[in-house]
Symmetry: C2
Subunit: 275 residues, 2 copies
DNA sequence: CGCGTCCGTTGATCAAAGTCAAGGTACGCT
DNA sequence: AGCGTACCTTGACTTTGATCAACGGACGCG
C-alpha cells in the first residue's frame, strides 16, 4: 500500500515542469463555471516532455515552433473543473499535459455515459469536429494541465505541415480503433475480463508516461468504472474482490497493486466470451 | 411483405447509374482473393448522386474535378467479396456507392467482432490510418460498388482544398461519435432497446438514401446483428418476435416492415436503462 | 473530537439474457 | 423435383450480473 501511495505521488508529479513562468491567473470559464480559477501559462511543445506522445510526433524543430505559436496557453485545472461542456461550440482541442480527465455525455433522460478517460499526451474534444460543437463534457478527476489548441488555426497549420497532418489523422483514427476495442469489450466480455482490460490498459498508459505499470491509483469511483465498462458499481466492487482473491491484485479502495500483470493480460485475450 | 420486397429492389437499384462505361473487368485482389472478379469503371463524384452525402460535400465544381482525378476507379463488388482484409497495408479508403458492407475484426482467439455496417455515401477504412494497415476486414453483404480513394493522394489534396479538409475531418470525427453511441447502446441498453436503436438507425440511413424508412430488407443474419449489438442470435430472434407481438414490426425473416416508427424511436430514448 | 456524508463492500434475491437442444423453413444445387 | 444446408424460431434450463438493502470505513467539516 505504501507503494500505491508512491504511485499516486508520482502521477501528480508529472505536472511539475520548472521552466515556465506563471502568467497572471485568469477567470477562464466565465459565468457558467463559477468555481473556475484556471491559471494559464504560455505553452511550449518544444520542451514538453510529452512531445513524443502528443501532436508534435515527428515534427522538425522549426515546425514544432509553428505549433507552439498556435497553442497560446497551458491551463491549470483543478479536480472537478470542466474544460468544456457538451453543447458549447468547438473553439479548442485540448491536449492533456498532466492530470486525469473524464469525457462524458448526459442524455436527455439524465443518464450519464462515460466515453473515456484521458491521460497525458492524449487529445480531448475530437468528437466535436463533426458537428462543430462539443458532444461531451470533459472534467478533471485530478489536478492537472491542458494545452489549449485553437482548432481553426490547427487545421490551417495542418495544411502547411504534412507531418503534422499525418499525425493529426493518426490521432483521429486511433480514437476510432480505441472505441472499437471498447465496443468489443462491452459486447462480448465478462465482468472479470472487462476489468482486466481496463486495468491493463491503464497500466500500459501509465507505463508509457513513465510511471509504475503495477501500482495504480484510480482517480475514478467504482460507479464511474462501472459506467464506462457497462457494469454496476456493485459488480465492479465484487470483481475487484474476485481478482484480489485470485492473487492478481491488491485492492485498497482506489489503490490497486497489480500482482500478476501477465495473468491479467492473458484474461484479456482468452476467449471465454459468450457469443 | 410485397412492400418489403419492393424495398429490397429499390436498394439494389441505387447502383444503376447509366452514364458510365464499363472499363475492362479486372482481377483486383490477386492471389489471396481467388473468387474476385471486380469490374472497375472510372469514378466520378461530379455526377454521383451521393455527392451530397460523401466526401465532396460543399466542394466547388472545379474542386470536385480534382477529387475525381484522384479517385481513379469505381469497383463492382459481389456479395461475399472482400474490399480489404485486416493486416493489409492501407493504400485506399473506400467510399460506398451502393450495396451493403460489413466491417469486422477477428481476434487471435478466432472470435469475430463486427465494427459496423456501411451504406452508400459512407467511408470504409478510416481505422487503418492510425497504424497504416487495416485493422478490420470489409466484406460485401450485397452486390454493390465502391470508389477507391488513394489515401496518400487524398491527404495531399486535403492540404490544397480547405473545404475538403474540413469535410474529411468531419467524417473522421463522426465515426468517433457514432462509435460513442454504440458504446452507450452496448453498455446500458436492454435487448429490446438495442434492436430499436439498430432498426431506427438503419431506417434513417435508408431514408437519407431515398429509400423507404419503414420497409427494410436486412442483409445480415441474426447472428451478425447479435454480434454487433452484443446479443446472441437467439435473443435477437426472440426480441424481433416481441416487437412484432407488440405491433411495432412485421417480421418475415429478413424482411422487416416497421409498423410504428415513432414508438420504436421512443424506446430508443426512454431511460429504462439499468445502471 | 465527533458528526455526517460519500464511497465502497457484502449479502440475498431476481430477472434478463445466455446456453443447450430440437425442430422448421427457405433456398440453392444436382 | 428432391435433397441438403444454412438460417431462423422456439422451448427449457442455467448463469451472470442487476437490484435491493444493510453496513462500514475514510474523510471533511463544524
Amino acid at each position: 500500500m505504501e507503494t500505491a501511495v508512491a504511485g499516486l505521488i508520482q502521477i501528480k508529479n508529472i505536472e511539475l515542469c520548472a521552466d515556465y513562468d506563471f502568467v497572471m491567473p485568469l477567470e477562464h470559464m466565465s459565468a457558467s463555471e463559477p468555481s473556475s480559477k484556471l491559471k494559464t501559462v504560455k505553452a511550449s511543445c518544444q520542451t514538453c516532455r510529452l512531445r513524443d506522445l502528443c501532436l508534435p510526433i515527428g515534427l522538425a524543430p522549426d515546425e514544432i515552433g509553428k505549433l507552439d505559436k498556435l497553442i497560446n496557453r497551458r491551463q491549470r485545472v483543478r479536480t472537478g473543473q470542466h474544460i468544456f461542456r457538451a453543447g458549447k461550440p468547438l473553439h479548442f482541442l485540448y491536449a492533456v499535459r498532466s492530470g486525469f480527465f473524464k469525457a462524458y455525455e448526459v442524455s436527455n433522460d439524465g443518464i450519464e455515459q462515460i466515453n473515456g478517460f484521458y491521460l497525458g499526451g492524449e487529445l480531448l474534444g475530437l468528437d466535436a469536429i463533426g458537428s462543430g460543437s462539443h458532444q461531451c463534457s470533459a472534467v478533471a478527476l485530478d489536478d492537472g494541465e491542458v494545452c489549449e489548441i485553437p482548432f481553426d488555426a490547427l487545421e490551417t497549420l495542418v495544411r502547411e505541415i504534412p507531418t503534422l497532418q499525418r499525425q493529426f489523422h493518426r490521432i483521429l483514427s486511433r480514437e476510432i480503433t480505441a472505441d472499437h476495442s471498447i465496443m468489443k469489450l462491452l459486447g462480448s466480455m465478462s465482468a472479470e475480463q472487462k476489468l482486466a482490460v481496463f486495468l491493463t490498459s491503464l497500466s500500459a498508459r501509465f507505463n508509457m508516461l513513465g510511471y509504475s505499470p503495477t501500482s495504480l491509483f484510480l482517480k475514478m469511483s467504482r460507479e464511474e468504472i462501472g459506467n464506462y465498462l457497462g457494469l454496476t458499481l456493485e459488480t465492479v466492487s465484487r470483481t475487484f474482490r474476485k481478482l484480489q482473491d485470485d492473487g492478481l491484485l491488491d485492492v485498497q479502495r482506489r489503490h490497486i497493486q497489480i500482482r500478476d500483470l501477465k495473468a491479467l493480460q492473458q484474461m484479456t485475450e482468452i476467449g471465454h466470451c459468450n457469443h
